[in-house]
Subunit: 303 residues, 2 copies
């Protein structure tokens, strides 16, 4: 099957995922999971952390922003809609609407201006039945995980089987275009089993060969529990990109990992003449020079 | 064809290249090419730079050392033999004997204690005829470049054709074991043509699939002429390792690139339990703590 293009849009900006395109960085920080202070702020109606997180992800080089408002004991649908409107007032990047609550996805899609990426469905019939009609109605794209109710399959064969089921069901039963299905090939922690990355790489290769689909995954999972996590992430993404990964949900605040992704874009021929690579290098040089000048000014009492 | 193992040895240490092994870093600095002061020192019989370079490559994590003594207007065979004896007195790492001069390779092989890697032959009949009998006689392994007298082929098809010729000739006419042929898949500068890395990756995959051979390449070529070369090297090697590269000739003094290689080893399942990764992290922490303590001692006048 030919390589697919997945089109995402905000009100004013378009981002296209594709095997012939620069990698799509989905900034992952706008999410209160595991952040107690952020959760308390959101319960109290304080959204200032979102503004800071959006600014940091945009500055770090995110292409799309993942927005999740999974705060226990709140009205998640309303919180998510509010957050989406706030994020869209601060940036023109498209949004990946992230929730395990179907009603929150629906209210979020309704609040969103543009063409969203919905995060996520699995191969479970019930999830597809609840969410795919929304994806269709709001003309969105959707992330699909090849696992079912039982467990996360540890073999590539089983994951490919579930991808086939998802593709068949989404396209034939719910009328979703093939190009709007973005598969998460499932990256597990290397510390638990040294074969998990090989399995992910094989899954990625076979999904590209079989369907040409775009793929995204949670990049930080791989290094969970290991030291020097940024260095592992910076090696993992170029490897996964070589296999066919076209996007990741990741923290754009890590310059080492973002630089690794942009290096791999250049090396894979997705940065003509190295224009982006050279521009990023010049921007870093200019920022360093400005910082040096400012520091010197402060020492001299002129800053 | 099954994956091959290439065994290299010094007098006391064995290093095995293989697709199921940690990547082999061949330290590249013991080479006067483009280093005028080093050339003058060597002409004057001053070998102190070699001692420093060996120490730096070993400290950086090299597994094998490339030794080249290509200094114009000297007796290269004698210089190479002297350098090899010196290097072997300083480290137990195996050596990659590197020269374009056939006589220097012969004298170098004669001086070397162990099982060397000879750098290099091409697909040209004359080079094979001159060098492969030496490789056989001294029971060495050999690096082979799939180019002929005409030019470096820019298409993977042509490179694979030349690899087939090299394998056929080396094994059938000169009795070299398949496992002792290490192919250089040819990494060219990305700045000249954005498709060169894709060509190298395809070549690497097809060489592994076709013959299971080990491969090595000059890792710094890829970033030639580009800014932020270490970041490009740190992305390129994990990508090439994913395709099947098992070794590189590189400067082990770049912590970013060495760390990327060891990260990829872990991710590909060649570092059981992450033992090497965790040990390297602890060693860096200990070194940083010692440096901090020493600096504090100096400030307090006790250092």
């Amino acid at each position: 099957m030919p390589d697919q293009h997945t089109v995402l849009r905000s009100a004013t900006k378009e981002v296209v995922l594709g095997h012939d395109r620069p990698f799509t960085i989905i900034g992952e920080r706008i999410n209160p999971t595991g952040r107690k202070i952020f959760q308390e702020q959101l319960r109290a109606g304080d959204f200032s952390a979102i503004e800071r997180d959006v600014a940091a992800q945009v500055a770090g080089g995110a292409d799309v922003l993942d927005v999740n408002m999974g705060v226990p004991l709140t009205d998640e649908p309303e919180l998510l809609a509010t957050a989406i409107r706030l994020v869209q007032s601060r940036t023109d990047l498209p949004i990946c609407i992230d929730s395990s609550v179907v009603e929150a996805l629906e209210v979020g899609l309704d609040a969103y201006q543009g063409r969203a990426l919905v995060n996520s469905i699995t191969a479970e019939d019930e999830r597809m039945e609840q969410i795919l009609p929304l994806v269709k109605r709001y003309d969105a794209a959707v992330i699909a995980l090849p696992n079912d109710a039982d467990e996360i399959p540890m073999e590539a064969d089983k994951r490919i089987e579930l991808v086939a089921k998802i593709v068949e069901t989404a396209t034939k039963e719910y009328g979703i275009a093939l190009e709007d299905i973005v598969i998460d090939p499932l990256a597990m922690p290397i510390g638990a089993d040294t074969q998990v990355v090989n399995t992910a790489l094989e899954t990625i290769q076979r999904i590209r060969q079989g369907w040409g689909l775009n793929m995204t995954l949670g990049a930080s999972n791989v290094s969970f529990g290991m030291p020097a996590r940024h260095a592992l992430g910076a090696a993992f993404l170029p490897m996964a990109m070589t296999a066919g990964l076209t996007s990741a949900i990741m923290d754009a605040r890590s310059p080492q990992i973002v630089e690794a992704v942009r290096a791999a874009d250049l090396l894979l021929g997705h940065d003509e003449w190295g224009m982006s690579w050279i521009a990023a290098h010049r921007a870093r040089q200019a920022a360093a020079a400005a910082a040096t000048e400012q520091a010197a000014g402060q020492v001299l009492g002129t800053g």
